[in-house]
């Protein structure tokens, strides 16, 4: 199985640790991982701003970089959702469709494709798990509080394999953090207020770390935690599952 590693632009630039953990975790699980170096971005920043018509270049690059692989894995629910829903190629619509179905968010790749049942990881800390909306409501990584349906959580089931970890409960299990892509600057006041409220929920329940499947939400919450002078850290779920000790 040849797997292409897709590292979203802002993770590449600002959170290489999350990307390295993703790579190492997949390698540990025996996956043949390749990182095509000319990749950039899924195109979501433009598309969510109403400029989907400017994402042609990103689509073209994505197809060029990843079409050859059996699967493409990315440590992000949001970017994967964008690819799944919007990757297109006017010249070869079928190729884009085929590729978009091969793209997986990391935790669902572990649970659904690799069918991981144990992980050699230890993380003896109180951890708050943030449900990033696009992964949860878009990719159905876990059940949504609005629906009358059985409970499940793909990332949650993986975290439960980690030795010593204590997942804290939250008042609002799946409320949005307010990042929202360009929303975070276009609607700065509401975005920050949403982030502050999310962070408070985690802090009030004793979180030492906040984790999740999307670094973007975590970056937003980290910015607020830092500004508040909090010692609580954010970590991408790959870093915990990879057995990194803090």
């Amino acid at each position: 199985m040849r797997v292409g590693l897709f590292i979203p632009c802002y993770v590449d630039q600002f959170y290489p640790g999350a990307a390295i953990a993703t790579l190492q975790l997949l390698e540990k699980l025996g996956v043949n991982v390749f990182y095509p170096k000319n990749q950039t971005c899924c195109g979501q920043p433009m598309a969510n701003s109403g400029f989907e018509h400017l994402t042609g270049g990103c689509n073209e690059l994505f197809l060029k970089n990843f079409s050859e692989f059996d699967y493409v894995v990315a440590p992000s629910g949001s970017c994967v959702l964008h690819i799944r829903e919007h990757l297109h190629d006017d010249k070869d619509p079928e190729a884009a469709k085929t590729l978009s179905h091969k793209v997986y968010e990391l935790t669902s790749f572990l649970t659904d494709v690799l069918k991981v049942t144990s992980l050699p990881a230890k993380f003896p800390h109180k951890v708050g798990f943030h449900q990033s909306c696009h992964g949860q409501r878009g990719l159905h990584l876990s059940q949504m509080s609005e629906l009358v349906a059985p409970d499940f959580s793909k990332p949650g089931s993986l975290l439960n394999m980690v030795e010593g970890i204590e997942i804290i409960s939250l008042n609002r299990v799946d409320e949005c953090c307010g990042f929202g892509g360009t929303f975070c600057v276009a609607e700065e006041a509401v975005s920050v207020k949403m982030g502050k409220d999310r962070v408070t929920d985690h802090l009030e329940h004793g979180a030492e770390y906040i984790t999740g499947v999307d670094m973007s939400c975590l970056m937003h919450m980290e910015g607020i935690l830092h500004r508040q002078g909090s010692k609580v850290k954010v970590l991408h779920i790959a870093q915990i599952l990879n057995g990194e000790q803090e």
Partner: protein
């Protein structure tokens, strides 16, 4: 975007200056979302009900013209007079015409978001007709000379102390009294008097049954009934999308409506009106006002399935923290944001962007409108129609260029990280909205791409 009016982001920023109030507003509406959750989780068939309702409405929208004609024929046969209004102006003209023909100068009105959409109250006032809103929340915002901030809970943005003060000014209650029970009783007495003397009553319509020509009005206060039963003339205003095919379909919609809205199993009053009582006139005004245009927009037609429960507002993390008035439209929140651009794309160009696209609205919607997908699609339509600012266009073009060219992207990333490390003041300043209340991420030594070149390239 028009420069004369403030957009959602600016209005939301103003709302957020009083953080305690934002917390109070957020918690009040979250409490209602929780009541909804508790209530719907008692019904194992909830998701099936939603799907059924969505399909019934799908059928309605696909056969709207014939259902409307059936409804009209049956209503006429019941002795009701039916009027058709192409837009808000025609709707308002019809109502004033009906009142003036009878020399009526006063009217009582139960809740109708359609009349808010048509700005009927202002129009009646200009024509010398005094209108009193009989829904308690509507009455409160009417006294405050404000529009409702929520379609089900019109005065949810007001604290009880503020309502006490309003009642003190307008209804003569003692200053400083904010006891909800006392204030409600005062309003009740005041409205009783109104019901007894008004000759005309206007109600909204929650469901119009094509099969029977009857319409159903749902209230918790019984105010629609009080107004309609005592009036000489009962006028009901309805949008063309209020149709349901048969009476039995109410069994689906009435179970969904109030559970979604407030968590109640059903509205206190679900009143069926089919014919005028002896000596009374009953009129139905069927209003289009942009709905047929929306019906023609393939991506947005499902928005017409809306039964106005307000669940999307209660669950929306943005609505809860920006308040209904920040949407500057009669219908606020997520559903308002997909309905409004159809009416005036320029004026409401900001609304589809007032969302993180978290998707919670679509999940609570009792008729399964894909609200957050429509928000995304409206963004594309608005930009294509030229309603994006020049600055935004330029920055998006630059972003697109950089992200379409690996070399530009790698260089740009390197420069960006260097600046953040060595000249943070260039980024950490008041011109950066991120930095205002959040720190920037720590720039790493190397990007992942650079790390990979060093650590894996040889393999």
């Amino acid at each position: 975007m028009s420069i004369e009016t403030k957009d959602h982001a600016e209005l939301a920023e103003t709302f957020n200056r009083d953080e305690n109030r934002v917390d109070w507003h957020d918690e009040t509406l979250w409490w209602i979302r929780q009541k909804r959750d508790k209530s719907v989780h008692q019904l194992p068939e909830w998701e099936e009900l939603r799907e059924t309702a969505s399909q019934i409405k799908h059928n309605v929208l696909s056969n709207l013209s014939s259902y409307l004609q059936t409804f009209e024929a049956n209503a006429i046969a019941n002795g009701v007079k039916v009027h058709w209004a192409a837009d808000a102006k025609e709707h308002n003209d019809i109502i004033v015409g009906l009142l003036q023909a009878k020399g009526i100068k006063q009217m009582v009105k139960s809740k109708s978001m359609l009349t808010e959409e048509c700005h009927l109250n202002d129009f009646l006032e200009k024509n010398g007709i005094d209108v009193i809103d009989s829904d308690l929340g509507e009455r409160i915002v009417q006294l405050a000379k404000e529009p409702p901030s929520h379609i089900v809970l019109p005065c949810i943005h007001k604290k009880k102390e503020e309502i006490g003060e309003l009642f003190h000014q307008h209804l003569g209650t003692p200053a400083g009294n904010a006891d909800p029970q006392f204030l409600t009783e005062t309003a009740r007495q005041h409205l009783r008097e109104t019901f007894l003397v008004r000759k005309a009553a206007l109600t909204g319509v929650n469901f119009a049954v094509a099969e029977t020509g009857e319409f159903v009005v749902c209230t918790n206060e019984g105010n629609a009934d009080m107004g309609a039963h005592l009036s000489d003339i009962h006028i009901a205003s309805m949008g063309i999308e209020k149709i349901i095919p048969e009476r039995k379909h109410l069994g689906v919609f009435l179970r969904l409506l109030t559970r979604s809205a407030t968590g109640q199993p059903i509205t206190t009053y679900s009143s069926h009106f089919s014919q005028p009582r002896k000596g009374q006139e009953m009129h139905i005004v069927i209003v289009d006002n942009g709905r047929s245009v929306q019906l023609g927009r393939e991506d947005f037609r499902n928005s017409l399935k809306c039964i106005r429960c307000g669940a999307c507002m209660n669950t929306c993390p943005v609505y809860r923290r920006s308040g209904g008035h920040s949407y500057h439209n009669a219908i606020s929140g997520p559903i308002g944001s997909i309905l409004a651009p159809n009416l005036d794309m320029e004026k409401y160009a900001d609304l589809p962007f007032a969302s993180t696209l978290c998707g919670s609205c679509s999940n609570v919607c009792p008729v399964k409108i894909d609200i957050h997908q429509q928000l995304y699609k409206w963004r594309q339509v608005i930009v294509k129609n030229g309603y994006a600012t020049t600055g935004k266009k330029a920055s998006m073009q630059l972003m697109s260029f950089t992200l379409s060219n690996p070399t530009a992207y790698h260089t740009g990333g390197k420069v960006g990280r260097w600046v953040l490390k060595h000249a943070p003041f260039a980024v950490n300043n008041k011109f950066n909205p991120w930095y205002k209340q959040r720190d920037m991420p720590e720039p790493p030594q190397a990007s992942f791409g650079e790390w990979y070149e060093k650590n894996r390239k040889s393999k």
